[in-house]
Symmetry: C2
Subunit: 223 residues, 2 copies
């Protein structure tokens, strides 16, 4: 699709839903992702800590068809080889994951490479390494990722926002009730796990979040 501009990428990351077979609580992940896309998710991240590589490729290829049909991005967490295999739009690399240069070499220059930053040092390293967007957080206290640091709050997100022009998504216990603060703090979008994939009605949960994000963006623009 050619390299996206920063503004385009920010738009494509409005509601970024991370998959997690644990949060799916036994329901078929493919169905939940389809419901999330119907509800307005603009990007899906395959983030799978349990399945082997072969099963991840099978799942990822189904998600690729769903996301392509919905005009949504597909990003793979951590595994550049799986991103390549499923023709994902890119890969998300945490601070402990492969260096972005490796992803760029395997996936090509148009691939979307995301990084994670919870403080200024991590932001500086990620920017220097050439990531295309940043997952910033945890904004709020999360139980999904036990090794995440202390919550930085919307104020912490705003501080990091001031240091880079890259698209930023806020992550960490973001819900429809608090996403307005996240957007007001300068995020381009929100990344969520439990708030969508863990919801009883995944489509409705995605729709509520997407609406709250769009409202907060309009409010921010109007200010």
């Amino acid at each position: 699709m050619g390299k996206l501009s920063r503004a385009e990428l920010g738009q494509r990351l409005r509601l970024y839903v991370l998959t997690d077979s644990r949060a799916a609580a036994g329901r078929p992940l493919v169905d939940l992702v389809a419901a999330a896309l119907e509800g307005g998710a603009t990007a899906i991240q395959l983030r799978e800590k349990v399945l082997g590589g072969r099963q991840q490729v099978e799942l990822g290829r189904v998600l690729r068809r769903l996301t392509r049909a919905a005009g949504a991005l597909l990003i793979v967490n951590d595994r550049v080889d799986i991103a390549y295999a499923v023709e994902a739009d890119g890969v998300h690399l945490g601070q402990d994951d492969l260096p972005p240069s490796v992803a760029r070499a395997i996936l090509g220059s148009d691939a979307i490479i995301g990084g994670s930053a919870g403080n200024l040092d991590e932001l500086a390293r990620s920017v220097a390494e050439g990531v295309d967007y940043l997952g910033v957080g945890p904004v709020y206290a999360t139980t999904t990722k036990p090794d995440a640091g202390e919550p930085i709050g919307p104020a912490g997100l705003a501080q990091l926002r001031a240091r880079t022009d890259l698209p930023i998504v806020g992550i960490g216990a973001v819900t429809a009730d608090n996403v307005g603060e996240v957007i007001a703090a300068g995020a381009d979008g929100a990344a969520v796990i439990g708030a969508v994939i863990g919801a009883e009605d995944v489509r409705a949960a995605a729709r509520r979040l997407r609406q709250a994000i769009e409202e907060a963006l309009r409010a921010r623009t109007a200010m």
Copy 2:
């Protein structure tokens, strides 16, 4: 280096040492690999279940220098992206790992791609998928890999040996004391974890194993 012939690859897989930071028991893995190479290891597999991708790349690049200097192969377990990043000679893919076609696409046609087989069905699938060698086992009962199946014994290895011309390494609690049986059953080499990396004197352990393998090969040829 160009694609190795089957005979050449069999020779390069004589003593195939798998790294495991757990078996290293706190000692620096790089030192243990260096000692294993001095003792006669012909191939090293980076098989790391604990470290993140970034640290695996750092470790793998050191192992690449060591193996290149020793004329030994470097194979990465499971992670094709890490194999690419460290310029490994190839990748080892278990039955649950990525399909060999993905590895071939990322690493190129000369890359060495290994598969695992514990029975005729797995062997047939691996051969059909185009692997270059097979790790066959567990030959003996192992505690290192709790999800490994029932031991197949040297007789089971011989059965699989009869079904393929690919190089085979026997794996699963192989030691200097029983490796003679493994080679006599038709293996080209032996893959070991604990017997080398877990030994108190890694170099001596590798040397004893290599000698036992070479003796058994001479005995087999003389028969």
